[in-house]
């Protein structure tokens, strides 16, 4: 091979190389963060700190569409882009869950501190009768939803996309029923005069069950993000696996919430 020819080949590979490696960009992360910023700090402060409803409306009005746009774009990219290394998402998510566990531990530690220092004066004054039937029903619903989600994954593995969609929708419905029970229960308790500020038990009750419910909500959000492309026939195995693992985690945490908050 002559030097000229070698040179030419080198040039071609080099060009190819530059073409392959361009600066990667995505607007989804920035838009999603902007949405979170407007919805949470600005929205919350507008309502609770400055008592300025206009600020809250603007915060939520900007925040929610930005979050939806960011998530939609991110999911779209995630479905089509390949990771640099395949299969790392399903490792990353459990690492993230470690930190979720520690948030719950922080909340439970606060509850245990108050509970143990109260001694026999528990539940504190102002606590109405709290139904233990509702959380049992909710447990059945949430555990079933873990099984239906598992079923959905099995269908996906078999290549049965419509079966997957069906079981995923059932899972989402069960999650919604679970949140419906939360709303019903809160409504009932608030009418009985049991609000976050009532006493130390109500502080822990609403913070911990509310925080868990927010996780159910995020899990449902993930499922909807899986479902919309799935209805058009597009699925991504590792995305489904991540959403599912997250859901099982939320399910497991519920056992701790029920046993500590309702039955202790």
């Amino acid at each position: 091979m002559s030097t000229e020819a070698t040179h030419q080949i080198h040039d071609i590979t080099h060009e190819h190389h530059i073409h392959e490696h361009h600066w990667e960009t995505s607007w989804a992360p920035l838009v999603l963060v902007a949405g979170i910023f407007f919805l949470v700090p600005i929205g919350f402060s507008g309502h609770f700190v400055y008592e300025n409803q206009l600020m809250t409306i603007i915060g939520a009005g900007l925040g929610v569409p930005l979050i939806l746009a960011g998530v939609a774009k991110w999911v779209e990219e995630g479905m089509s882009h390949k990771n640099l290394v395949e299969g790392v998402s399903i490792v990353g998510l459990p690492i993230f869950i470690v930190s979720e566990i520690f948030i719950f531990l922080g909340l439970f530690a606060s509850y245990w501190t108050m509970r143990l220092s109260a001694g026999i004066n528990w539940p504190p004054e102002g606590t109405p009768e709290i139904s233990t039937t509702i959380p049992l029903i909710m447990t059945v619903i949430l555990v079933s939803s873990s099984f239906t989600m598992h079923n959905a994954e099995v269908k996906l593995d078999d290549g049965d996309n419509s079966g997957f969609n069906k079981w995923l929708i059932i899972t989402i419905l069960l999650g919604c029923v679970f949140l419906g029970f939360t709303v019903f229960e809160y409504n009932h308790l608030i009418h009985a005069g049991f609000v976050p500020g009532t006493n130390s038990y109500s502080s822990a009750f609403f913070s911990i069950t509310g925080f868990h419910a927010s996780h159910v909500f995020i899990g449902l959000g993930l499922f909807v993000a899986v479902l919309i492309p799935a209805l058009k026939g597009k699925t991504n195995d590792s995305f489904v696996a991540c959403a599912s693992v997250y859901w099982h985690f939320v399910d497991v945490v519920w056992f701790f919430v029920v046993s500590q908050i309702y039955f202790w």
Partner: protein, 535 residues
């Protein structure tokens, strides 16, 4: 390689490619810019406090609350918006993937998500200074004051949330990156020390930040939703907050300390052309030991707030024990310099200054670990000077040293010149002039966090000296930043590997690296290490 270099040099600046970037190097540079901006504003707050304290009585302060607000911003911004993002944001992002031979981090879009959480947190922190009800709760936010104050505690809480979320996602990203994306052939004992220290810092972030997030969330609920977590009158526990807070915030010291030490190792090994002394002891005993014990010492921040003795004494022992792994790390640092022909350049000058800071800061920590002595030294300016040496300045110098050491890598140009040396000396003399007087008057009874000290007129001269020192430091830092900017634009071109390092970011990547980092995929031999200078 040279072709690649010129291609990227001549690339036109494209703002859209920067703002929407998911590239770890550009994200690293954005972290550096954001954290230096936070450093500048927080530094000005420090200058205002020093000016106010220079003499007895009100200099230009209107109410004591002003001082609390400066202190809030100085502390919160320096730790949360400068040191942590400067080390685990800028340095980890830019250099860790290069050191392990990876093309990027495992989740580039999550990385971009992290940087924007950081920037929006800075926006919120700056907003908190311009609103009429600026937070005045230091960086600690202790109840009951944080709950009863007129100040806006919610902006503080959400700043912590945004930064915490950013760091947790960073932790997920970097742990997966190091586990799965090392160059083929690279075993665990062939990692740069900086990779190990970053990994350790992220393990701490992952486990401990959530607890801080829980603590400040409960603070938010107590203040704005009327809950009673920290209200003893209604069955809450006011010390609970301090426990949760320091459960994170003491390990946060190691989150800052460890990557700073990692940077120090990289520079020292390169400038001494030596392999790391006692590599395995340093990694598994030193860094691993800090991670293992770091979470069991937080009570030493609560010695004087009222703790049962078994807890105080237990944590005194674990606090003293942490000097064992730290001692192993320091031994490796000095051992690496042993019988070396050291090249002294600006990065190395900052590194030597760091060895001095870790020694003074570390030794002054020992009396503070002991309950009997802390009862007297706590809340004096001695503790103020101690943690500025070991934590504030040591890690700040790590950021500065990192910028000088990797300046040719990031910009393709050199910043190591006469101005860099002048600014180093101004800076170094300045910090000593500032903090030695505080070390001296602390044990004599000068309290910390006082804007006025008319009951202690004997300390006025010391305060005057300290204020002069603060301005020397500020002048040094200003010269340094101007030098960085001018050198990045028009400094002399750097050779490919100006320090003759053996680490992958110097041997295999162009200056500055383009998209994808390495022109050819990197593999390493079994006997390769980033420090094999003896071959």
């Amino acid at each position: 390689m040279s072709t690649a270099t010129t291609t990227h040099d001549q690339e036109a600046f494209n703002l859209k490619e920067w703002i929407f970037t998911t590239d770890h190097k550009r994200i690293g540079v954005m972290y550096l810019i954001g954290s230096m901006a936070a450093f500048a504003v927080a530094g000005m707050m420090a200058l205002m406090m020093r000016l106010e304290q220079a003499n007895i009585g009100a200099q230009f302060i209107e109410t004591g609350t002003d001082y609390n607000e400066w202190l809030y911003f100085h502390g919160a911004a320096m730790i949360l918006a400068f040191l942590i993002p400067g080390l685990t944001g800028f340095a980890a992002n830019y250099f860790l993937p290069l050191m392990i031979g990876a093309a990027d981090v495992a989740f580039p879009r999550i990385n971009a998500f992290s940087i924007w959480l950081f920037y929006f947190a800075i926006v919120l922190a700056l907003l908190s200074v311009v609103v009429p009800d600026t937070p005045d709760i230091m960086w600690t936010g202790y109840p009951p004051y944080a709950v009863t104050t007129e100040g806006n505690t919610s902006f503080y809480v959400f700043t912590v949330h945004l930064l915490g979320f950013s760091s947790i996602l960073g932790a997920v990203n970097f742990l997966v990156t190091v586990i799965y994306m090392r160059a083929p052939g690279m075993g665990w004992n062939q990692l740069n020390i900086f990779v190990w220290t970053t990994l350790a810092a992220f393990v701490l972030q992952l486990v401990f930040i959530p607890v801080l997030a829980a603590a400040v969330t409960l603070l938010l609920f107590d203040k704005y939703l009327g809950t009673h977590f920290f209200d003893p009158a209604a069955g809450g526990d006011v010390l609970l907050y301090q426990n949760l807070f320091w459960f994170y915030s003491h390990p946060a010291v190691y989150v800052i300390f460890l990557p700073a030490v990692g940077i120090l190792f990289e520079i020292i090994a390169t400038m001494a052309k030596n392999q790391i002394f006692n590599y395995k002891v340093c990694v598994y005993g030193g860094i691993g030991g800090v991670v293992a014990i770091g979470g069991e010492v937080w009570i030493h921040h609560l010695y004087v707030t009222g703790m049962p003795d078994w807890l105080r004494i237990g944590m005194m022992i674990s606090t003293l024990l942490i000097s064992v792994p730290v001692g192993l790390i320091v031994m490796s640092l000095w051992g690496t310099l042993w019988r070396a022909a050291i090249s002294y350049n600006v990065a190395m000058m900052y590194s030597v200054a760091m060895l001095y800071l870790i020694m003074v800061g570390g030794l002054t920590g020992i009396p503070l670990a002991m309950t009997s002595l802390t009862v007297h030294l706590s809340e004096t300016s001695f503790i103020h000077a101690h943690f500025h040496f070991i934590m504030g300045l040591f890690s700040t110098y790590a950021v500065f040293a990192a910028v000088y050491y990797w300046f040719p890598k990031m910009t393709g140009r050199m910043a190591d010149n006469g101005w860099a040396r002048i600014s180093f000396w101004l800076n170094f003399i300045g910090i000593n002039v500032t903090f030695w007087p505080l070390f001296i008057i602390g044990p004599q009874g000068m309290p910390r966090r006082y804007w006025n000290y008319e009951m202690f007129p004997q300390f006025e001269a010391y305060h005057e000296v300290a204020t002069v020192g603060a301005f020397l430091t500020a002048a040094g830092v200003a010269i340094m930043i101007i030098n960085w900017i001018t050198s990045a634009i028009s400094g002399p071109k750097a050779p490919a590997n100006p320090w003759n390092s053996r680490s992958l970011e110097w041997t295999h990547a162009p200056n500055p690296p383009g998209p994808g980092n390495f022109p050819e995929a990197v593999t390493v031999a079994d006997d390769w290490t980033p420090y094999d200078y003896n071959k």
